[in-house]
Amino acid sequence: MRNTLLRRTVAAAAFGVFFGQVLAGPAAAQTFRWAFQGENITMDPHSTTEYTTVGFLSNIYEGLVRRDRNMKIEPALAQEWQLVSPTVWRFKLREGVKFHDGSPFTADDVIFSYERSLKDGSDVKPRIQSIKEIRKIGDHEIELETHAPNPILLSELADWFILSRAWSEANNAQAPADVRKGGENAATQRANGTGPFKLTQRQRDEKTVLSANEGWWDKPEFNIKEAVFLPVSNNATRVAALLSGNVDMIYPVPSQDIPRLEQATDFELLRGPESRVVFLSFDVARDELLHSSVKGKNPFKDHRVRQAFYHAVDVEAIKSRIMRGASFPTGTLIAPSVTGYDERLGARLPFDLDKAKALMAEAGYGEGFTLTMDCPNDRYVNDEAICQAVAAMLARINVKVELLAQTRSLFFKKVLSRDTSFYLHAWATSTNDGHNILYDLLNTPTPKTGTWNLGGYSNPKVDELTTLISAEMDIPKRNELLFQAFDTVRNDYAHVPLHQQMLVWAKRKNVDVHQRPDDRLELRFTRVK
């Protein structure tokens, strides 16, 4: 690979003569090397739902269904399915599929994977919580029963991967590795899936090497024989790795390097809206804010104050000055690529300082107040800078914001214990369906729902709609319910949606990669020319 790169660059041609001998590795035809900012946590697909790890593992493992280029569900290990009754699904499994070790894929593996996913140490329980039982009908047919009708079952199954029963048992990996029980097992370091790529080498924090699975059941769109994943955490180092020709593709691209890469002739940027929506939110539950000068009452319980904050935020200024154009302002917490989005939701309240001031005065806070804002400084693109800008904007309606920007682990510890009055957060669904946003982010907090509803937002109508949505099997009807739910949320102004981040990837011109809105690189769409 390095060798081809040297050939491509006239300036480097002279070096090619001297160093070609040294630099040329073994004839590495169609090797694709890419660098990402983090390392995959584990190779065990049931141990984590961390999105980059899941994305990486989707090259090795497969679920019953998968998503195509446009995020639409399509058959994978299940060839076809039908709904026998509102709670019973019958899946016909694909025949002739083999795991990487050569053993055949059957219904037993699906049932085994289900049981495995329920064990301690599994992080994928939320994906299969709706399933009551999986029954074997034949070697290549199963019946899946849910507790209640579940319209998004297929979305939930798309990232739920199937392991080989025989392999797991032979390698003593019947359960996902559990740190509480002292650690790892064979599946954390090795892998045996059915997917288009096999895991051939894993050196944690150095590189992970995949090779094409010649026996894959599907017709490959990719032409690469080998793919090398390299974690490079430092931004400048990652960009240098691309520019020097050590890798073919990098992501994410730090915003300060975007103009420079735009001008480089050998490289190309891929950009698109990410399904993650960044927003501000308030503590609307407590009778007195924990971190504010207002005593004895909670200003955010007043609809007008929240609306005033919304009007005071100039999202276009954030886009042009802080995001350098790399954001898509939005008026709702659900991204356009997610099921349930409706164009009627997208409009924002206009930036209107006069109106904001008037609303504050009307609510009795014309003099303003002081407020602490919680913000991560290493989680979202330019998160701290956005918070600083918001603080400056709110100063114009006399709200004096003390910004507490800290590293993600500290930020999440604080806000997850509900120790916040005003915060910046962002959400991307794990199921690509609006229900997940309602359930985790917008429902009244209970031990199960509203885990990330950090401001204690509670609207019985939204809760009720969420329950209906979770069981409505009729798609148009369900979409209407989703619209109603998000429209209700929008009109409560308990959240100030800011924007979707822009995904920015950079690659060499001679490779083709497909950028999905969930920031996932699928090697099965990757070609090297």
Binding site: D123, T188, L230, N234, A236, A240, S244, S409, F412
Partner: protein, 322 residues
Amino acid sequence: MIHFLLKRVGHSIFVLLAVAFLSFLIFQFVGDPVASMVGQDTTTVERERLRSELGLDRPILIQFADFVARTVSGDLGVSYRDGHRVSELIAQRLPATLELAAVAAMFALGIGIPMGIYCGIHPDSSLSRAFQAISLLGVSLPPFVIGIMLIFLFGVTWRLLPTFGRGEVVDLGFWQTGLLTSSGLKSLIMPALTLGLFQMTLIMRLVRAGMIEVLGTDFIKFARARGLGNLQIYFRHGLKNTLVPVITVVGLQLGSLIAFSIIVETVFQWPGLGLLFIRSVQFSDIPVMSAYLLFVGVVFVTINLVVDMLYLAVDPRLRTMS
């Protein structure tokens, strides 16, 4: 002598306990490991269960006592991030860091001492001034700037050296070495230069100052009067007498090469202990962080012990004192 040693070892154990406790206190402020361990859809109930089963809800002193008890019995626990045994993680990463530190130290000593000697003997020559200028750069530029500069020159512009990673390694069973492959050696050049530059300039300046001072003393004049040759004066009498402070500093600096290669490892994505530590901090991986800090403590304590021994060997006056 034995008494001296025992006293030193006693001090060392106390220091290590203090380090362990301080780091444990700090971990109360590094965030919540549970938040990074589970996926976003995990319910609050599951989170709490995990927290209590990991013992994170116990009082800090009990957690500390538990940590010390387990460490003494040789068990460093498992990483919260990926479930690996911490002792294995450290053993895996140690070779990368030690090789980097060793090469950087060789570079620092091999270039720094001769440069220092030259500058000490010829303080006013133009080459000395050039060395001084270089050393000023080495002292004043932070390593990440030097690292990035090297990457852009040798990696991006001239494409001579790999910009990150460790290249191909050879597994010797107990030790993974990058010293036996050409890509491994080439990968080592820039990180070692970056890591060693500061030490090199420091050593050069120390040796230079020491030489100038010693060469100005009376016994050197007497040596000259005795008609001794330059070589003998410079090396036998001059250099030897400047070495005591140099040994102290080199010893401590060697410790910091191993312990604080974090920045260089981050810039070059060098898969050593520093990178492991940074990852652990981001993840609030308490077992790995405690083990790393303890390891750093052990390195420094050991080096100090060895330096003290070396004093005894180099300086006869200390021997009679004890």
